[in-house]
Amino acid sequence: MIEYRSVGKTYDDGSPAVDDFSLVIPSHSTTVLVGSSGCGKTTLLRMVNRMVDPTHGQVLIDDVDIATRGPVELRRSIGYVMQQAGLLPHRRIVDNVATPLRLAGVPRREARERAMDALAKVGLGADLADKYPRQLSGGQQQRAGVARGLVADPNILLMDEPFGAVDPIVRADLQRQLQTLQHELGKTILFVTHDIEEAFLLGDQVVILRKGGVVAQAGSPAEILAAPADDFVRSFVGLDKGRRRLRIAELDGQRVVVDEHGRPAGVLDPTLDRT
């Protein structure tokens, strides 16, 4: 469990990035922070591995204030995946993926083997292991980034817009893969995105943020759609302009669910139809 206790961050240049933020992130589930650019998502994410130290408030992992833990040791226990993968351009893919293990003191041979396993897990072939990052496509680099985040089997995985820079088809593929992996591994994932569709797809808990890290609404995707807290949330999730409005249309006596443009979204479950 990760807990933010009224944390805030003002950067050296005086700009308050996060004002006063509190949240509990349950273990073994995915929490998504979603908000537009500059609202403080990265700042909040980086408070968990002490890349950013809050100016006030505490962050606790399993009830321990992380300010009491060494930053380097803490980071080695937490997976991190970022946009553009952030792979080291001068190291081969397998060495990149093995980095967290090598830093933790795992012997070279074993680290390499585990890195190869992690690559396989994210769907990268062994033939790519000895290539350098720039020899891979954006999607492949992003997979390698996920493999690096998972290789040391951390309990916590931080993901900062990890699929933001790849094209929509690859993104959908990566999202599906993450869902599959999470189903199998049950990590505590804190995921940051500006894309509400991605937030609803991946999040067990979704936290919609305004500027300054102010929580507009937190809840499951269904809870947010069922009862948006205010006009900001309604507009952010796209309920304002009639989007996400599904209705039932009758077609040759069959009841089909269609979206706001009349395009079919599915049919009503016939077992429910009876009742």
Binding site: N49, M51, V72, E73, R75, R76, Y80, M82, Q83, Q84, A85, G86, L87, L88, P89, H90, R91, T99, P100, L103, A104, Y132, R134, Q135, R148, L158
Partner: protein
């Protein structure tokens, strides 16, 4: 050719003297510039001051410096160490800017990602920053190396022998062959040294050999 062969022992001596007078300033200047340039790359204000100071240092004429330095540090006028010190200062002045640029062009995302992976400060400096600054640093070493090899010849004017002594002697005795041999040997030395740096770069930075990588 006959003259060169007859004097080959002396030419080898001059070449070795020239070699160390070139290599020591480049290496020492580089090592001194590394922390200074790194610092300048991180902070805007020291950067401006340091680069300006480096620029001024670089424009100081070498001959007066060669006369002043012995008085300052108490060496004899003929001591080759004076030449080594002056050339180290020039190399330092040249390197500070190059080192600052080399570290400044390392991607901030890559550094963040290394930090997030659990690199300590020193591990990140040695394992990520330095290698990624490497290609620009290497280019700087090559420039400094060639310019230092040619600057060493000035030492001959104050009586510190090196390949430049062949020019001064050749002029005094109006002996063209000696001047030509001097020029050819200086050029060869500069080229050989340059090849050594390139080779060293290939060994230390294998990823740069990749096509399209940089």
């Amino acid at each position: 050719m006959t003259w060169a062969r007859a004097n080959s022992d002396r030419l080898v001596d001059l070449m070795l003297q020239h070699l160390w007078l070139s290599v020591v300033p480049v290496v020492v200047g580089f090592l001194l510039a590394l922390p200074i340039g790194w610092w300048a790359s991180r902070f805007a204000r020291p950067r401006a001051v340091l680069l300006a100071a480096g620029g001024i240092l670089y424009t100081l004429p070498s001959l007066p410096l060669l006369v002043i330095i012995p008085g300052l540090i108490g060496t004899s006028f003929l001591d080759p160490i004076n030449v080594a010190i002056v050339l180290t200062l020039y190399a330092l002045a040249l390197f500070v800017r190059i080192v600052a640029d080399a570290f400044a062009q390392v991607s901030a995302e890559v550094l963040d990602s290394a930090t997030a992976s659990g690199y300590s400060w020193w591990q990140r400096f040695g394992g990520v920053e330095l290698p990624l600054a490497g290609p620009v640093l290497l280019a700087g070493v090559r420039v400094a190396s060639v310019s230092t090899v040619s600057l060493v010849t000035v030492g001959a004017l104050v009586g510190v022998s090196n390949l430049g002594s062949l020019f001064t002697e050749g002029f005094q005795r109006d002996f063209r062959t000696e001047i030509t041999v001097g020029i050819v040997l200086v050029v060869i030395l500069a080229l050989v040294l340059d090849a050594v740096w390139v080779l060293l770069g290939r060994l230390l930075m294998p990823w740069t050999r990749l096509r399209g990588a940089g």
